[in-house]
């Protein structure tokens, strides 16, 4: 919107012809400017305050407009219901350090175990086995394999006794 729109509106409202309206509107703004210069401030209630501020040197002057509360509210209408808010921060689950090592045993593994051993083992038994099986894990080769090895050697070497080998 510019001055010509204002002039049109004034000419309609006050039944003036366009020239008269233009003169009047021009005059209004001219006098507003002059009054700002003379009095260093111009206050229009429910609209705002024009202040003439001079710089530190005193040479440069500029005008600052401070809108009234009513006008400020109207312009900030979309966000007028919002306020400052403090955020409360809580650590997300993934960042928290887990206290104990936890694992889940897959269903396939349980199935295989059941089939191979044919025993009615349940999940807790298997878990206990795995948890308590630290001694077992230290052995690199199972007892069965060792036994088999002995048998093979005995068979291949006949009945030689006192054979020294790592396994003897």
């Amino acid at each position: 919107m510019n001055k010509s729109n204002i002039v049109s509106a004034i000419s309609i409202r006050f039944i003036l012809n366009k020239d008269e309206a233009k003169k009047t509107v021009d005059n209004v703004f001219k006098i507003m400017t002059e009054s700002m210069k003379d009095n260093k401030s111009l206050n229009i209630p429910k609209f705002g305050k024009f202040k003439l501020i001079s710089s530190e040197t005193g040479k440069d002057k500029f005008v600052r407009f401070l809108p009234s509360k009513k006008l400020s509210k109207k312009i900030n209408y979309d966000f007028s219901d919002l306020e400052k808010k403090e955020l409360s921060y809580s650590e997300p689950e993934s960042v928290k350090v887990k206290d104990e090592f936890s694992y889940t045993i897959s269903k396939e593994f349980l199935k295989q175990k059941k089939e191979s051993e044919g025993s009615g083992e349940n999940l807790s038994q298997v878990k206990d086995e795995i948890a308590a099986g630290e001694e077992n894990t230290k052995k690199l080769i199972s007892d069965e394999l060792v036994k088999l090895h002995h048998e093979i050697i005995e068979f291949s070497q006949g009945n030689q006794e006192g054979s020294n080998n790592l396994w003897g």
Binding site: M1, N2, K3, N5, I6, A9, I10, R13, F14, K23, T24, V25, D26, N27, V28, F29, K30, I31, M32, T33, E34, S35, M36, K37, D38, N39, S41, L42, N43, I44, P45, K46, F47, G48, F50, L52, K61, F62, V63, R64, F65, P67, L71, S72, K74, I75, N76, Y77, D78, F79, L82, E83, K84, K85, E86, L87, Y89
Partner: protein, 84 residues
């Protein structure tokens, strides 16, 4: 300067009556206010521009590690187009 003094000056300059001058001034102010309320900017030759400026939402962190959300805000800016 207060509004009354301004009206007196307008009446003197234009030759219109005091009441009519007041009405005209009020009318101009109302038109500007209404247009700004509709988020439309106003540019007046030889006087200045009224512009709407939006400050976006931001989060500030205080020294004590408290985060505060500051909501967006729209404010009015006046840019003078006259030599003062």
């Amino acid at each position: 300067m207060k509004k009354n003094k301004l009206i007196k000056k307008i009446a003197k300059q234009t030759g219109l009556k005091k009441k009519k001058s007041e009405n005209i001034l009020n009318s101009i102010v109302n038109i500007i206010t209404k247009e700004l309320g509709n988020k439309k900017e106003i540019s007046i030759n030889g006087f200045g521009d009224f512009k709407i400026v939006r400050d976006e939402m931001r989060i500030i962190l205080s020294k004590s590690n408290i985060k505060t959300v500051i909501p967006p805000k729209e404010t009015l800016n006046f840019i003078p187009r006259n030599i003062f």
